[in-house]
């Protein structure tokens, strides 16, 4: 398999363009494409799977069978499942497509599916509706679907993000074996994750493939990776407006007290006998394998989980289920997660996305104050997006969207800042920026931080409390 791009220009629905791409992938080569957020990494790799309109240039050669796993594909599938939900016209709540049906779609080698299901230990969720899976679980299902399609060109866009440590190791080993037989092209934001079998590196900038180096060229590789590391010194967190909610809370009262928590669906128990108290100023890291219920716990706190009403939960002085409204709870919380990003499907401007953090809304439905606009603009400068303040949020790349949602979560300096894998999809520079911001917020002492992540190296100074959860036994069994 040889694929060659000669001076190719691609258009992506007029919201993004790739320019003057010259690139050759030969049999036995494995590429990692890297670059800053919004540089076109994902777009370039997606062209190998037929995405984008080629405006000019020539592409010669192609793979027989291509498989692509990316956040965009994941979002597409989730959106498709959402559309299948006919509850709005039938008045019947739809259950959705089961995981095993998703896995059987398209070309699929059942033997490989079975083998990978066993490897990933996912047998327990085969009969569950795809829509009910956690972020990490959907990701794994897509990986299995891609691997089982027996591609001769495998495209993986950020395959390691959002995977727990065990799965990560397993996948890396699997890819190592696979790399002996097929070509693999990956998009990676983190240089510490580049697997040993990768033979070539590419660096994207502003829609162009600026640098291509062979891994053997040590000098060249080092320089390319250095491009990713820029300094993030002199950083400061923009102030908030006068509406901080901390004053409404008693200092000696826990922010959150979960007692005897149980989350259960039909036969399936996600969580049982779970207790957790978060006092003001105690910064926590929450960890556990994919599907162990991390996001469920967080959404009990934010009030987004419907079973928060059938559990013993005290948040910000409210015992849940006693006449408080969800907005009274949310005013104390800043929140970012992948689920939120999927919900945040609105065409509003970048500035308004940040301002919406003051109102805890998705989109902005209230006239913002001048002060809030000013603060939002300071955040945009910090993120290097001030020249795009009035552009539309839904046209941004995944990583850029993530940065904005982090700013949205922080903008009101909330008493409780919940960051559920905040660095997912961020390049090295922006990851450093976000980690530094979180550190500053911890140190400033106004916000208590609750942080979920899988990457040990993303530890943050100041976060010294750890809560580990394991999977509930019933959540491992086949249902």
């Amino acid at each position: 398999m040889n694929i060659e791009y000669q001076n190719c220009y691609f258009d992506f629905d007029q919201r993004f363009a790739l320019k003057a791409i010259d690139w050759q992938i030969s049999t036995g080569e494995h590429w990692v494409i890297t670059g800053g957020n919004g540089s076109g990494k994902s777009a370039l790799v997606a062209t190998l799977a037929g995405y984008g309109d080629k405006l000019s240039g020539t592409v010669s050669g192609k793979a027989n069978r291509v498989a692509l796993v990316s956040f965009e594909v994941q979002a597409e599938l989730i959106e498709r499942e959402r559309k299948k939900d006919d509850a709005d016209i039938t008045d019947v709540i739809a259950v959705g497509t089961a995981v095993y049906e998703i896995l059987a779609q398209g070309h699929s080698n059942q033997e490989i599916v079975d083998q990978l299901i066993a490897k990933f230990e996912l047998g327990y969720l085969l009969n569950r509706p795809f829509r009910a899976l956690s972020t990490g679980e959907t990701r794994k299902i897509l990986l299995i679907q891609a691997l089982a399609s027996e591609p001769d060109l495998l495209l993986l866009d950020e395959p390691f993000d959002g995977l727990d440590a065990t799965t990560l190791l397993m996948l890396q080993q699997y890819l190592l074996q696979l790399s002996q037989r097929i070509s693999i092209v990956m998009v990676l934001n983190r240089c510490d994750e580049i697997p040993s079998f990768v033979s070539h590196l590419g660096y994207m900038q502003a829609g162009q493939l600026m640098h291509k180096v062979a891994r053997e060229d040590l000098q060249g590789s080092r320089e390319l990776l250095q491009l990713l590391h820029l300094k993030t010194s002199g950083l400061s967190v923009p102030a908030t407006d006068g509406t901080s909610k901390s004053a409404l809370l008693k200092a000696d009262q826990p922010l959150v007290r979960l007692k005897n928590i149980r989350i259960k669906y039909d036969q399936l128990t996600i969580l049982e006998d779970f207790d957790w108290t978060i006092n003001p100023g105690e910064h926590w890291q929450l960890s556990g394998p994919n599907g162990s219920g991390k996001t469920a716990i967080l959404s009990l706190i934010t009030g987004d989980h419907p079973q928060c009403y059938s559990n013993d939960i005290l948040v910000f002085g409210y015992q849940r289920g006693n006449g408080e409204s969800i907005w009274q709870i949310k005013q104390f919380i800043g929140y970012v997660s992948t689920a939120l990003q999927w919900e945040y499907r609105v065409g509003t401007s970048l500035r308004n996305v940040i301002i919406s953090g003051f109102y805890d809304s998705i989109g902005l439905y209230t006239k913002a104050t001048d002060g809030q606009r000013k603060i939002a603009d300071q955040w945009l400068v910090l993120l290097g997006m001030d020249d795009r303040a009035d552009q539309s949020f839904n046209k941004l790349s995944f990583g850029d969207q993530r940065l904005l949602l982090i700013a949205r979560a922080m903008v009101k300096h909330p008493p409780l800042l919940i960051l559920d894998e905040p660095c997912l999809g961020l390049d090295d520079i922006n990851r450093q920026l976000v980690l530094a911001l979180i550190e500053k917020i911890c140190a400033a002492g106004k916000s208590t931080v609750l942080y979920v992540n899988h990457h040990a190296e993303d530890a943050i100074a100041g976060i010294d409390q750890a809560k580990k959860i394991t999977k509930h036994p019933s959540n491992m069994a086949d249902v």
Binding site: D88, I89, I93, Y265, G323, S356
Partner: protein
């Protein structure tokens, strides 16, 4: 059984009730959910509306539980799962209705009589009963115990959207009403307002209407423009393209998805914007076709409105209910056998603009149907706001259903009331338009016009544009969409 409530009113009262519809302002909702605070709300029915409204009300700090029939609980049916997995208390009618201060009846129309008869004796003295549709009260003449307050709160969007907008911090447009014959303590309006706030509706705009106006306009809209016109149009346009030798897959796709695409333009900018999507010569063509269609179909729209007003429609339908839905099921089976229904959409690319350019007749049908429905309703005493919501506003929702499900499923999933009316309309309209269709060719449906240039006569274009923009549905639509976007200001 039934004693049509509307027919018991004097002409003066009829006109007063029909003319009730007012857009309420945010400032009228400053009391929030106070009127419902601490009251026990029991929802009957846990489908998409029932569940999602309940989730919103609970998140607004209200006490919500669900009551289901014993069998649904014993068999752990989906409705039971919906309620329990979301952490709600679930109980039988006997267990929960006697404890309820407010009962929300969110079951399908057809079940209303039996459900209401069953719960009424169980309800607390001075409690409140809420409907989301007034058919049972107005057409079936259900008499509710005199101490009970009867209100209506009807979000004008599907249940999943009611929830999604609330979670975003917004809401969906909502209609509220108080049944004046059942407002013993004068608290109906306060309760209905609090309920609308609890679902987030006040943020998107609330229309205060009456049971009568809601029923008479809702029936008219759904059987004519919404379902009837789209069904009839689908069959006629498809058959025409096949008759002219066009590819069946293309024809099927153009229609199945065409309604959705062209009514999306309607949703954003009314009939004017929908026609503005066409080239100038095509626009004039669509305008002329629509005028012709309106002339032919006006008597049919009048007949539907008359039958709805005098109760003939509902008594005919209820007779069919009593006869095991014989007519309805027969008609439904016929729909499944139509050529359009049986031909799956072809695997061809149709661009957004092509749906307009090749669907000039479809655009004309939507224009004619929306304007006729609106004109007929307002001529019958229904106020413009109601007429707008029940015609133009809801057309994209049905078009979306056709895009997803085609006609058979569209009919099976809309309410039985809408479906029955849709067939009545379709059976009358098909022969009515037979002569008109003889003169139709693929330039207005299927292939598009092949004008050598885009030239038009200035005077004629000005005349057409003026006529489009000055139609009363455009006037009220501009005002109501303006409120909506003011409230949704910055999105």
């Amino acid at each position: 059984m039934s004693n049509n409530y509307f027919n018991t009113l004097t002409l003066r009262d009829q006109l007063e009730q029909l003319g009730k519809c007012r857009f309420m302002h945010l400032a009228e909702f400053t009391e929030g959910v106070d009127a419902l605070k601490g009251k026990k709300i029991v929802v009957i029915g846990c489908g998409a509306q029932g569940l999602n409204q309940g989730l919103n009300l609970r998140d607004s700090g209200l006490d919500v539980s669900y009551t289901l029939r014993q069998a649904a609980i014993d068999e752990k049916r989906q409705s039971w799962k919906n309620a329990t997995e979301n952490g709600f208390t679930v109980g039988t009618y006997d267990q929960l209705i006697p404890t309820a201060d407010v009962v929300l009846n969110l079951t399908p129309d057809k079940q209303h009589s039996s459900v209401v008869n069953e719960i009424m004796p169980l309800m607390k003295k001075d409690a409140c009963l809420s409907y989301s549709h007034g058919f049972n009260i107005v057409e079936e003449g259900m008499k509710i115990r005199q101490d009970i307050t009867v209100i209506m709160v009807a979000p004008k969007c599907p249940g999943t959207e009611v929830r999604a907008e609330y979670v975003r911090g917004f809401g969906v447009p909502t209609l509220i009403a108080v049944h004046e014959a059942n407002d013993p303590q004068g608290q109906g309006l306060a309760l209905a307002k609090a309920y609308a706030v609890g679902t987030g509706g006040h943020k998107a705009g609330v229309l205060m209407s009456s049971f009568v106006a809601e029923v008479k306009s809702d029936l008219m809209g759904e059987q004519t423009i919404l379902c009837g016109m789209l069904q009839t149009g689908s069959l006629l346009c498809y058959d025409k393209m096949i008759e002219k030798g066009m590819d069946a897959g293309y024809a099927s796709k153009l229609i199945q998805f065409g309604w959705e695409v062209i009514t999306e333009a309607l949703k954003y900018g009314g009939v004017t914007n929908m026609l503005d999507r066409l080239s100038n010569p095509d626009k004039i063509k669509a305008f002329d076709l629509a005028e012709e269609l309106k002339g032919i179909m006006r008597p049919l729209y009048n007949k539907h409105q008359d039958d709805i007003m005098n109760g003939n429609f509902s008594s005919g339908m209820m007779a069919d209910w009593a006869n095991d839905d014989e007519k309805l099921l027969g008609w439904r089976a016929e729909t499944a056998e139509t050529a359009f229904e049986k031909m799956p959409a072809g695997d061809v690319e149709i661009s957004e603009q092509e749906f307009f350019d090749h669907g000039i007749l479809m655009v004309a049908m939507v224009k004619a149907g929306v304007e006729l429905a609106f004109e007929t309703m307002t001529a019958a005493g229904i106020i413009a706001e109601s007429a707008y919501y029940e015609s133009l506003h809801e057309t994209p929702l049905i078009a979306n259903t056709i895009a997803r499900k085609k006609l058979y499923e569209m009919n099976a999933t809309i309410s039985d009331t809408a479906e029955y009316g849709c067939y009545l309309y379709n059976h009358a309209c098909l022969p009515l338009l037979a002569e008109f269709m003889k003169n139709i060719d693929t330039d207005v449906i299927g292939k598009g016009t092949t004008n050598a240039d885009n030239g038009v006569d200035n005077a004629r274009l000005i005349e057409v544009n003026e006529a489009l923009r000055s139609h009363p549905v455009e006037h009220i639509g501009g005002v109501l969409r303006g409120y909506m976007s003011d409230m949704k200001a910055i999105i």
